[in-house]
Symmetry: C2
């Protein structure tokens, strides 16, 4: 079976490394010339091709930003692809992709979101075990073909991933809470500290806790702008929910309600019993 990966960054590149033994051949597509060169040099894919060369591949993986996925799906719908081709997208939000996927290839698409990543990007950030033991969310599978779903699940099993089936709308809401809002919070911490006069001073004192809380603020702004754009309503809801909790803590501190603050923190501890 052959595979084409569109987008040779962290996600696409790691997929290439991890499925070397699964596919007989892996080709890659990337509009960035230096990504193309790096991907070949790093052995992420066997060969660089173009979209029009995909008419004979068995699996196409779209590991690019959401708007890019939608426009590539439109181009793919005009090609003479194999009837049973499996198209996988790794978009961070799922509703708009599914809604805008051209009808003639909707059954070929298995809309997926790997709950994996690092704060780094680009081909050099690719790592072979990025997907191992991680969750792969698969959305609205009733609209995908049986043969494509089976093929996608076989690949995810090969990657040793845990498959979770979910409604796209639900997915986008959950993703706002557990991924998108925490990114906004991390950027807010980073900027709050940078606004302080003596930033070097503060930064010298950073221990593990601060490093954790500001790590997501290393993330790629262009990629995250697009995700926030796509999931605006859910993101604002999740920021609101977070703000309510922050306000509660602030009020308790201001009014010196230390016992209630203790209980509020004790409740936060609970999260780690279920995680």
């Amino acid at each position: 079976m052959t595979c084409a990966i569109v987008g040779l960054g962290l996600m696409g590149g790691s997929f290439g490394l991890a499925t070397k033994k699964y596919f007989s051949k892996i080709v890659g597509i990337d509009h960035n010339k230096s990504h193309q060169e790096d991907a070949i040099k790093l052995g992420l894919v066997d060969e660089i091709v173009e979209l029009k060369d995909l008419e004979n591949v068995d699996v196409i993986v779209l590991a690019i930003p959401i708007r890019g996925i939608i426009s590539v799906l439109k181009e793919l719908s005009k090609l003479n692809l194999k009837d049973d081709v499996l198209i996988i997208d790794f978009g961070s939000t799922k509703e708009s992709i599914i809604k805008e996927c051209p009808k003639n290839i909707r059954r070929n698409l298995v809309a997926s979101h790997p709950m994996a990543g690092t704060e780094y990007s680009g081909p050099a950030a690719a790592i072979e075990d990025l997907y191992k033991n991680k969750v792969m969310v698969v959305c609205n599978i009733e609209e995908s073909g049986d043969i494509q779903v089976k093929r996608a699940f076989d690949i995810y099993n090969f990657l040793e991933m845990k498959i979770k089936i979910m409604d796209a709308k639900e997915h986008d809401r959950h993703a706002a809470f557990i991924s998108h809002m925490p990114h906004i919070v991390s950027f807010s911490i980073a900027n709050a500290v940078l606004n302080q006069e003596d930033k070097e001073h503060i930064v010298t004192l950073a221990a593990g806790g601060f490093r954790d809380m500001s790590r997501l603020a290393k993330s790629n702004p262009a990629m995250w702008r697009d995700i926030f754009k796509e999931n605006k309503k859910n993101l604002l809801d999740s920021i609101e929910a977070f703000k309510d909790e922050l306000k509660r803590a602030k009020d308790l501190i201001e009014n010196e309600k230390w016992d209630e603050l203790y209980e509020w923190m004790k409740k936060g501890n609970e999260l780690h019993k279920i995680m």
Copy 2:
């Protein structure tokens, strides 16, 4: 040289493990019976003693909450301690400890704050390399005796720590920004997610980013309540600064100012160039 560690939890226990080869004998004090037993079993200290037994030790380390440090300092001031005894406290805020330290032992005290820790507590959480390569902030050394400062620095060098001298007031303000406020934020994220109806669902989807952002919400509520209490004013200032950034992000998202949101994130990226 002999040492007494008051408080045999994560900080005191790790100090005991790390200085085994530095001191000829290390005794321990803890009002918690099971901590006493664990500390002996885990080899954190050689022997359990009481405060009144400290009249011949050379170094006393106070690794307990801030209010406990202040009350132990008051008890120590009434004992017939060695003239040149070094007392080190590891309190997370420094101004109130220095202010309330009895005059007759002020020169013996070297007020210190190790920028080290984990989200775990108790003797079993102790690890030998907790302090290695970490920053030790030392406050208002002009009020400490030369011999005590020299002795403290020698110990910190043995631990391979980086020493930073700082004014206590300044320290408390910096600590609010880089440690105390991020804890409040982490607890707020944990609680915001727990308030969602389908917590198991959300939690199943947690990837590395969410784990980082909620890790501090595992911390000990009693310990943190006391720190927040002690540093109330600075903490509220730092929460305010964070809230301003969050509000800015929210406004940009609400008004779809995506380019400005991009610039705001780009600025957050800067933090990692100076860290």
